[in-house]
């Protein structure tokens, strides 16, 4: 396992299964819709394309992206003389993969200390993600420190502390109502002094339309740079999958203000598909790096576009290599209790 590359292979595998399993619920209605399109409409006529468009819109892909995908697909169908809906859908998946593929999605844990700032609108899952990430990085043998820089929301610091306790991660915090910049300053100084590997910065939720609050974030970032000129190494925008078109506006404004290095897509364990990330990746080139799959400490993983699409289309199209057979064993004991130490748990599989 390379020290600069968290979430290395074995985890990816474990997650693939877990993701597909979790996404099953989510993809059910989506798959049913797609299947309807396949079964009910054999002809590739106008209404087929219209339905397909609506299916994509239903996954929150957004109209522009959905239209672009369908247009491209129509051209391909014509050029390659496809006749069946199933063929067309397979091609669609390839189109979607083309949008998501070919981006470096690894967390850049490149320096000591590496500074990761978590930002996003209210309630999207920043604090929880930091709690999970701290645990993951610690269990990979990294020294982690958390800066509790949400000094605004009631009991935000308590919440961060309780999360950190679960992985025995140290927290640097000030009083509620204090200056978030000062918290970050102290945390980074401590990190440098102690040779900490990764500093995770929790920030208060803020709507991207609030200019003052966006300015505050920039200030926090500048404070970080006073201690570590190259900080932050990762600026991650946390978006929750249930969010509709507003996610695109969020990404645009946060990116403009801070220069995002990645997206965390949370709450994928629900029924929402988070299709807005297609538009975000296409428009801004900011890759989804992590996904949140629940409220447990292990419910975090890297984003794998192939698995994401497989899960999305599960039951309609078989994933290459996911055909029944020894290549991908069935999910091990669904509903089995979570392994106490996820690391060894996934290694055994």
């Amino acid at each position: 396992m390379s020290p600069t590359e968290p979430f290395s292979q074995p985890r990816r595998e474990a997650w693939w299964r877990r993701m597909s399993r979790r996404m099953d619920r989510a993809s059910l209605s989506f798959s049913e819709q797609v299947r309807d399109v396949v079964l009910l409409r054999r002809d590739l006529d106008e209404s087929f394309w219209d339905d397909l468009l609506q299916v994509l819109v239903g996954a929150d892909c957004g109209l522009p992206v959905a239209e672009r995908l369908v247009d491209r697909l129509r051209t391909r169908v014509r050029e390659e003389r496809m006749t069946s809906a199933e063929e067309a859908l397979r091609a669609l998946k390839a189109e979607m993969l083309a949008v998501l593929e070919a981006r470096d999605r690894r967390l850049r844990i490149v320096a000591v200390p590496t500074v990761v700032i978590m930002v996003g609108v209210n309630g999207s899952g920043k604090t929880t993600t930091i709690g999970k990430l701290a645990h993951r990085l610690q269990s990979e043998g990294r020294m982690v420190l958390i800066a509790a820089a949400d000094t605004f929301r009631a009991a935000a610091i308590d919440q961060m502390r309780l999360w950190a306790d679960r992985s025995a991660t140290e927290v640097i915090a000030h009083q509620p109502g204090g200056d978030p910049g000062a918290v970050v300053y102290d945390a980074l100084q401590a990190a440098v002094a102690r040779g900490i590997d990764v500093v995770l910065v929790d920030t208060a939720g803020r709507l991207h339309t609030k200019v003052n609050l966006m300015a505050e974030l920039i200030k926090v970032r500048n404070v970080a740079r006073r201690v570590i000129p190259k900080a932050p190494h990762e600026t991650l925008l946390v978006i929750e999958a249930p969010t509709g078109m507003n996610a695109i506006a969020q990404a645009r404004v946060f990116h403009e203000a801070l220069g995002l290095t990645g997206i965390v897509l949370t709450k994928l364990d629900g029924t929402s598909r988070g299709g807005t990330v297609l538009a975000i990746e296409e428009d801004l080139g900011v890759p989804v790096k992590l996904v949140g799959l629940g409220e447990g400490i292990d419910d975090l993983n890297v984003f794998d576009p192939r698995a994401y699409l497989d899960a999305l289309f599960a039951g309609v199209l078989e994933a290459p290599g996911s055909a029944p057979g020894p290549a991908t064993p069935a999910p091990a004991k669904p509903g089995a209790p979570k392994p106490a130490t996820p690391k060894s748990g996934s290694a055994h599989r």
């Binding site: 619920r25 209605s29 609506q54 819109v57 239903g58 996954a59 929150d60 957004g62 109209l63 609108v121 209210n122 309630g123 999207s124 899952g125 709690g131 605004f152 929301r153 009631a154 009991a155 935000a156 308590d158 919440q159 502390r161 309780l162 999360w163 509620p176 109502g177 200056d179 709507l207 991207h208 339309t209 609030k210 200019v211 003052n212 609050l213 300015a215 505050e216 929750e240 249930p242 969010t243 509709g244 078109m245 507003n246 996610a247 695109i248 506006a249 709450k267 364990d269 629900g270 029924t271 929402s272 807005t276 409220e295």
Partner: protein, 460 residues
């Protein structure tokens, strides 16, 4: 980001100078745009389709009013349909004649339940009730502490968990606590949960079995996308929903989820959350929501907000008081509240073309929400007498105010200095003659042009 429906339709019908009746073709042309506009606003696609069918039916053959273009006529019909769907029964909470009235807030994780509990409690207090909050979220770390803090800051009693009881028992105990404290409204804060999480849904049913809940309110984030309809339907079928509160409308989300939920459940939207602070709760307004969804209401909203919040009359009354040297801390606090109620300044400016640039120029001079609330806390920590006669605030009292408001002595000093300065500005304005319409107008202009920083906002 998005074009408004009227822009879209305007483009399409540019070539048509049609008068008389809307033809089938014209309507068809328009309906595609209507559907797209709804989808862009996050209206569920099935809901959008149903709506478009209804609108089509009404539109074909409809008379185009003398003063309208076909595009405008369609917009009018669409708007009327949306208002009709969003409107209907409008009500507050179902206050019981036999107390206590029990309200339960439910919803997905992070939708805003805990914050809204505190907001609702304050709303019930304004209605003359005595609320109690029950912290029944034993899932999210520090959730009870969050509610406890909100309660403490606003003098609302909170029934806290004991560390071992399950939420249904906590709720039952909360009711007993309410009886003991003579509170007549009980608001239950529950843990966020997915609408497909069966054990967690069963817990909500269990609560409803243990205590009589008069209003089960679904709290939904206004930024929610296509799944809003499934979330609403499942919660309604599995637990039972009586009303909805839509949160985070202070952002720029179109809020099409409101339509999706109305269409799938038919339950009234009671309130909207328009900010992180407990004062930021507004009654639901169907007309405004409809124009917001269609992307046409921004300017309208702005104008209305500005008018209702900072209306001339209030300003004039304030101005008169100022001139007479009778401007007190109370007036000042009121003014600050109005300023804040207009919504975050930047949000408002952001609605106007060119507004974003203005904000950029203003930069860090703008008071943050935090500045305003700190200031409010300081004034609120003064006695009634001190607010009218701030000159009695000598160091002893100032120290008490600082402690009571959780600020520093320097903050209090700064605020009082600012207030003094403003009063002297006012007096000099008054001295220059503020009689007659012209004088008053000039003064109002001066008031409006004042930098908030001049009003003595304590800066961190």
């Amino acid at each position: 980001m998005f074009e408004s429906l009227s822009d879209r339709l305007g483009d399409i019908f540019k070539s048509l100078s049609g008068r008389g009746r809307l033809t089938k073709e014209e309507v068809e042309l328009g309906m595609r745009e209507v559907r797209l506009a709804l989808l862009e606003a996050d209206v569920n696609f099935k809901v959008a389709r149903a709506l478009v069918d209804r609108i089509r039916e009404r539109a074909v053959g409809a008379d185009v009013l003398e003063s309208l273009t076909p595009g405008q006529q369609i917009v009018k019909i669409v708007n009327e349909e949306l208002v009709a769907l969003l409107g209907g029964e409008h009500r507050k909470l179902r206050y019981q004649s036999q107390p206590p009235t029990v309200v339960m807030l439910i919803g997905l994780q992070g939708s805003g339940k805990t914050t809204t509990c505190a907001k609702l409690a304050l709303a019930t207090r304004r209605d003359g009730h005595r609320p109690l909050l029950v912290a029944a979220d034993t899932q999210r770390p520090a959730a009870p502490q969050q509610l406890e803090k909100l309660g403490k800051d606003n003098q609302i009693p909170v029934a806290m968990p004991d560390g071992k009881s399950k939420p249904p028992d906590l709720c039952k105990r909360g009711l007993e606590e309410a009886r003991r404290l003579n509170c007549d409204v009980v608001i239950l804060d529950t843990a966020g949960r997915l609408q497909i999480d069966q054990p967690m849904l069963a817990e909500l049913r269990e609560i409803r079995k243990k205590v009589t809940v008069h209003d089960t309110v679904l709290v939904v984030d206004a930024m929610t996308g296509q799944e809003a309809v499934n979330v609403a339907r499942e919660f309604d079928q599995q637990v039972g929903v009586d009303g909805v509160i839509l949160t985070k409308l202070d952002g720029d989300a179109r809020g099409g989820a409101a339509l999706s939920m109305k269409e799938s459940m038919g339950k009234p939207i009671l309130y909207t959350g328009v900010g992180e602070k407990v004062s930021e709760l507004e009654p639901f307004q169907p007309e405004r929501m409809a124009s917001r969804i269609l992307g046409m209401g921004d300017i309208l909203t702005l104008v209305e907000r500005a008018q209702s919040q900072m209306d001339q009359k209030t300003a004039e009354v304030t101005a008169k008081k100022m001139l007479a040297g009778r401007f007190t801390m109370n007036d000042w606090l009121e003014q600050m509240r109005q300023l804040r109620n207009m919504g975050p300044l930047e949000g408002i400016l952001g609605m106007i073309p060119g507004g974003r640039q203005m904000i950029k120029n203003a930069g860090s001079m703008m008071p943050t929400e935090k500045d305003l609330s700190r200031m409010e806390a300081i004034v609120l920590s003064m006695t009634a007498h001190e607010r009218i006669h701030p000159e009695v605030l000598k160091s002893q009292r100032r120290r008490r105010v600082a402690a009571g408001s959780g600020t520093t002595l320097a903050d209090v000093n700064k605020l009082l200095k600012g207030f003094e300065q403003m009063q002297s500005v006012m007096k000099s304005v008054g001295g220059k003659g503020s009689k007659g319409v012209r004088g008053r107008a000039r003064m109002l202009r001066q008031l409006q042009g004042m930098d908030p920083a001049q009003l003595g906002l304590p800066r961190p």
